[in-house]
Subunit: 146 residues, 4 copies
Amino acid sequence: MTIERAVPAGMRICSTSLRVRYPETDRMGVVHHTHFLAWFEIGRTEWMREAGCSYAELEQGGISMPVIEASCRYLSPARYDDVVAVEARLEEVTRVIVRFGYRIVRQADGKLLATGFTRHAATDSAGVPRRLPRQLASLFSSEGGA
Amino acid sequence: MTIERAVPAGMRICSTSLRVRYPETDRMGVVHHTHFLAWFEIGRTEWMREAGCSYAELEQGGISMPVIEASCRYLSPARYDDVVAVEARLEEVTRVIVRFGYRIVRQADGKLLATGFTRHAATDSAGVPRRLPRQLASLFSSEGGA
Amino acid sequence: MTIERAVPAGMRICSTSLRVRYPETDRMGVVHHTHFLAWFEIGRTEWMREAGCSYAELEQGGISMPVIEASCRYLSPARYDDVVAVEARLEEVTRVIVRFGYRIVRQADGKLLATGFTRHAATDSAGVPRRLPRQLASLFSSEGGA
Amino acid sequence: MTIERAVPAGMRICSTSLRVRYPETDRMGVVHHTHFLAWFEIGRTEWMREAGCSYAELEQGGISMPVIEASCRYLSPARYDDVVAVEARLEEVTRVIVRFGYRIVRQADGKLLATGFTRHAATDSAGVPRRLPRQLASLFSSEGGA
């Protein structure tokens, strides 16, 4: 755990803005629920980039972090052309599992649209589970307060 | 609860087959996790059709059943061109909430790929929550053993 | 060109049925135009399977056929829960290029919803262009009347 | 045609950056071709916003501009986490048809990945074709050099 960190370990929230795309809406006139999981992924990707560990580079190094569980509660609909903030936060790290939590907030009025989490295992490029690489575990535990 | 039903109330499972599409895969070589939620939706749509209540007709009648919670556990990857069965089952019905449970099974080897559930509210066409229409509640409770 | 073939070379049409999925619709209440390209892909995949050459196996053998051009004319909207037929036909084969043509027809009323085509190159698994493998060229020319 | 415009009519190019999302990739390791059409849509949406006419507002006013033709040539693959620029330009305006042209360029190396166009009709909210509203036609012709 670094001393310089202004925000307590485990509290760093990465907020990423995105604008709702037309094909993300459905005929109910709102964003189809599946897309919130894709937004969660964007949120944790940017969280990792901020932590100095781009997911693209991680995969180039032969490590993947597939989703083993995903959950979302939908509180209020998102609509076409809304700008939403995806807030991602590391919630838990063990030797083999990482858990991120998320909030989706509409920027225009600050309304909370959804909350959720994903859990991830680490695997090699063949999909075989493995422990979190030391470097990654170290990064995550410094951020996540293991 | 009808007497003619061979399967006990709440036990009817609707199994729908689908073949994995190329754009459902990602660069990890497996189906991206978001698509399982879309498959769940196909499963419950067919469950409702079998129950004599097509979701398309329901919406034409001014009733929607938006997802208020979705959850999925990913056990094993699905791959391009796999044929999978989406098994959907009504798990719970209250005056305002319906819950479906799902299993995704690869047909070639019977392997269980994922399990999950979704919870739904009933709303009118403007998105305002309302009680389940009597007809629907009756249908669901006869199926779901409320 | 084989003698046994009942249908003249180049005329074999493979028709694949699919039901419109909820997330394929957009807030205009109709299928978003991007999905027609995904349906074209389903059509040519089944065309190839019928020809005895599954695309999945082709890729396992180290050959890909990426889309180098795609075009679609949208004549009438497809709607949620419609069953549509994707008709695919091989239109042209050269040493390096294959072209498929498509028609999307709604089954309930036979209405033509869209027409289009895709052109494909052959590449190895690293994405490097190559000639069509002899076996594939032979298959295609017997079907497509090169 | 306005005199104040620095760029000649029809030459205004709106460039929008976006980062490739994981689910936009497929098992070939590159972006699936369908997503380029979704990117085109993002490009023209931002073009219209820059022109002072947001598409969301247009639809709220009862006018839609559905795609009646789309075409794309794929020159080089886009990959996960690439930042690409979507360049959109109005190419043609008649009383009933609007045509936009697009270029997709990878920002890191300036490589041109794809080119294409879409053609659009104007319809009312029921999907019935109509002339371009005067205001829109005027906007487009001042931009597009009718």
